[in-house]
């Protein structure tokens, strides 16, 4: 149970980083931390005690292995996270070109 609570703590650290920090780069890092907390949670859900990796090997009978389904899911999630991070970084670079700052409280042209 404690490992799930640690995942929640990691998620909350990322959420704090996204909500509280003003630098766009720090927000991107916070999103990355959130993503990895979720991935770690999925991997831990599929774990069983003393299980080994779900890979076939020569001359070995595998009796106790971890669940491969969350691992395949997390692999897809990592790919999507890579694309999302690249998109956010591109947007951050454009914002820096336009406003000359990474501080979100100084980006005020769209204030209503």
């Amino acid at each position: 149970m404690s490992e799930y609570i640690l995942c929640l703590v990691l998620f909350c650290i990322g959420l704090y980083c996204v909500l509280r920090k003003r630098n766009i780069i720090k927000i991107v890092i916070g999103l990355g931390i959130i993503e990895y907390a979720i991935n770690l949670f999925f991997i831990l859900v599929g774990y069983r005690t003393h299980g080994r990796a779900p890979i076939l090997a020569k001359d070995q009978a595998i009796t106790n292995m971890v669940d491969p389904l969350p691992q395949a899911l997390v692999l897809t999630s990592i790919v999507i996270g890579l694309a999302v991070t690249a998109l956010i970084v591109a947007i951050a670079i454009r914002i820096y070109d336009k406003y000359g700052t990474f501080d979100i409280s100084k980006i005020r042209r769209l204030r209503g």
Partner: protein
Amino acid sequence: MRNKEPGMTLIVKTITRLTVGLILLYGIYIVLHGHISPGGGFAGGVIIALSFIHLMLAFGREVALKKLSEARASLFESLGAIMFLSIAILGFLGGCFFFNFFLHKGKPFELFSAGIIALCNIAISLKVGAGLFAIFAVLILFKKLGKDE
């Protein structure tokens, strides 16, 4: 001593020249053994892209783009997507989507087995490798455009 040419210092350049080929070969190994060991198209493609990114970090943008230009990266990326789709559609020769038309199932733990899975891995690695390299190159291009304005 300041060197006029772009990129990092001589130490980094020498080490890069020694290791970049090995990294590329390791990526190709991961791709080709994707169906019998951990790894596969995505992981191998990322390693292949990292070898070119390594070149770009050490020698500057022009040298890396001379090895693999943006247009050619775009071509490889599209080629990977079309190859994957055509492998899937060629399965209709045998009756269904993603049908194994190429080789028979083969034996476990042999390199030339598993039919179309190896071909799919190669297609995915082309797509991922060229796409990741293109993302990195375009981000640097953005930075350069911002400086010019």
